[in-house]
Symmetry: C2
Subunit: 356 residues, 2 copies
Amino acid sequence: MKKTALIMAGGRGERFWPRSRKDLPKQFLSLTDDGRTMIQLTVDRILPLVDIKDVYVATNRDYKELVREQLKGIPDENILCEPMGRNTAPCIGLGAMHILNKYDDALMMVLPSDSLIKDGDRYRELIKEAFDIASDGENLVTMGIRPSYPETGYGYIKYLQEGSRGRTFRVDKFVEKPSLELAKEYLATGQYLWNAGMFVWKVSTIVKQFENFLPDMLKGLGTIKDAIGTKDEDKVLKEVFPTLESISIDYGIMEKAGSIYTIPGDFGWDDVGSWLAVERIKKADDDNNVIDGNVITIGSKDCIIQAKDKLIAAVGLKDIVVVDTDDATLICDKAATADIKKVLENLRNNNRTEYL
Amino acid sequence: MKKTALIMAGGRGERFWPRSRKDLPKQFLSLTDDGRTMIQLTVDRILPLVDIKDVYVATNRDYKELVREQLKGIPDENILCEPMGRNTAPCIGLGAMHILNKYDDALMMVLPSDSLIKDGDRYRELIKEAFDIASDGENLVTMGIRPSYPETGYGYIKYLQEGSRGRTFRVDKFVEKPSLELAKEYLATGQYLWNAGMFVWKVSTIVKQFENFLPDMLKGLGTIKDAIGTKDEDKVLKEVFPTLESISIDYGIMEKAGSIYTIPGDFGWDDVGSWLAVERIKKADDDNNVIDGNVITIGSKDCIIQAKDKLIAAVGLKDIVVVDTDDATLICDKAATADIKKVLENLRNNNRTEYL
């Protein structure tokens, strides 16, 4: 069966400000030593499994040009522009409609555009296994991540030991972001995985689940599908898409459906959630500083300094994040990276949109 | 007797990098909320006492244009360009020669171009008293500063209680920069003042002291004086000045001469020795941050942030100094400002003169 991929690239992540901007979200930034952007790495990683002509990218229409520029070879009609963000269920549904418009049925992997995976070979090996499980019957497969610490910012997947198929386990349940206490319990049981938003299924299977749990949404999606390739495509999409319920695939389908499997993914996944992630993905110097660009450090340790052409001289600093851009410089204590969003709030409140 | 002033403005201070550069040393920077540069404040402060036509500025020839631009009204021939820095004795001697070329004798005050004085009225009141003491006989007067803590970076002046004239005391001796232990002792006695490099005397008096203690230098200075106003002036200065001994006025004359008086200056003197001084001379916000330019602070305290048009976002910082310029940004822990010179060493060692 044909293998296809839907890359969800609509995010407007603010945590990489000032590099990420409303016109250039995280998925279009290069954050590794490799030079490729997050979305380029995401696509390159799956190309051995999926033909570039069968890769779909769902994004905001503001980013269509960025997708075109960064992902050469993806057919223009595979760049799906959501008129507005409506969470993951409508996004995945839209992708499914486009695939169904091309193929009677197909395998479909769904993945975020802005996470990193260290071991690509291992990743593809497990994705292949997921394709196998998904092509057999009406299984939904999700790639879980073995938790390394009690993170409270992710949802979790509880799996069952019984009924496992090789490296694949039956899912007991999807659970929402836990409290720290609960996250620690999850970690202790060894039966919970992080939900990283990576799914594999047949299009026909997921459509059946929409029918079961989101029938109204499926009707709307059907209207959109009927217009694909016609002169009304854009108009219908703009009319119908905003009427679809804004709901996540986890909440809308995965928490309710049966026959869900998970594969614990031990391929070095990283969601690159903040500037602190740069330490995990880039090489540090002898003082444990992670540095790019025109930087001189004197007596500085454990810093992340992302400069460009302008000289940044860091003297006597410890645990400081510095990110320079042409019009703005962030200087932030590592312990305060969660407060970067307050800078953006301040800018919004003062209508200083040029910095957003 | 005519009152004249010699402002020493040859310094190449590096401690205000990246704002201060080899082409723009500290004395030509504006570091106060007032907007005027250090040398402008210095001149404006004495103008009620000294005619602008009798103000002399000794500087490096690289800075002649800066002096011209910043100090309107000073006669061009009063801008004395040292071909090279030779410490304060040759500099003061050169100033004395120019004044003697214009007047048979005159009162002369000597002052640095890069310190601040909070109480200008009090300052002028005490300078007037110094002029009085200096015009009477052959007295050398130095303005001392009552020490507020055991600073080890300044020389000290020990004065005698006996033989005081009003607020003026006889100097017992000049002493070099002390150890911390010694500085504490000085402070405890109450008889030591900081030597701030501010002097008042008759030109004839200081020339007599050159005759006593630096006779060779005085010969050279005489040759330079003879050429003033002739077509050879520049040539002779360039030939003779570099042959003068490089020695401070303190070491060359003040430590050896008699009849020295000092006035404890209680006029809010500040040598503005590093970026930390900015805290003392500018207003802080509610979080005790001293901020200029385009800055957003979130949860930051006790910082000094000198921005320009470019946005600086400071998040969760404490005791950090940030100084932005067009081509370089300094980010420095307050405890490490002494290491700024290491940045300059690094730049010199790597021949990156564009940043010096």
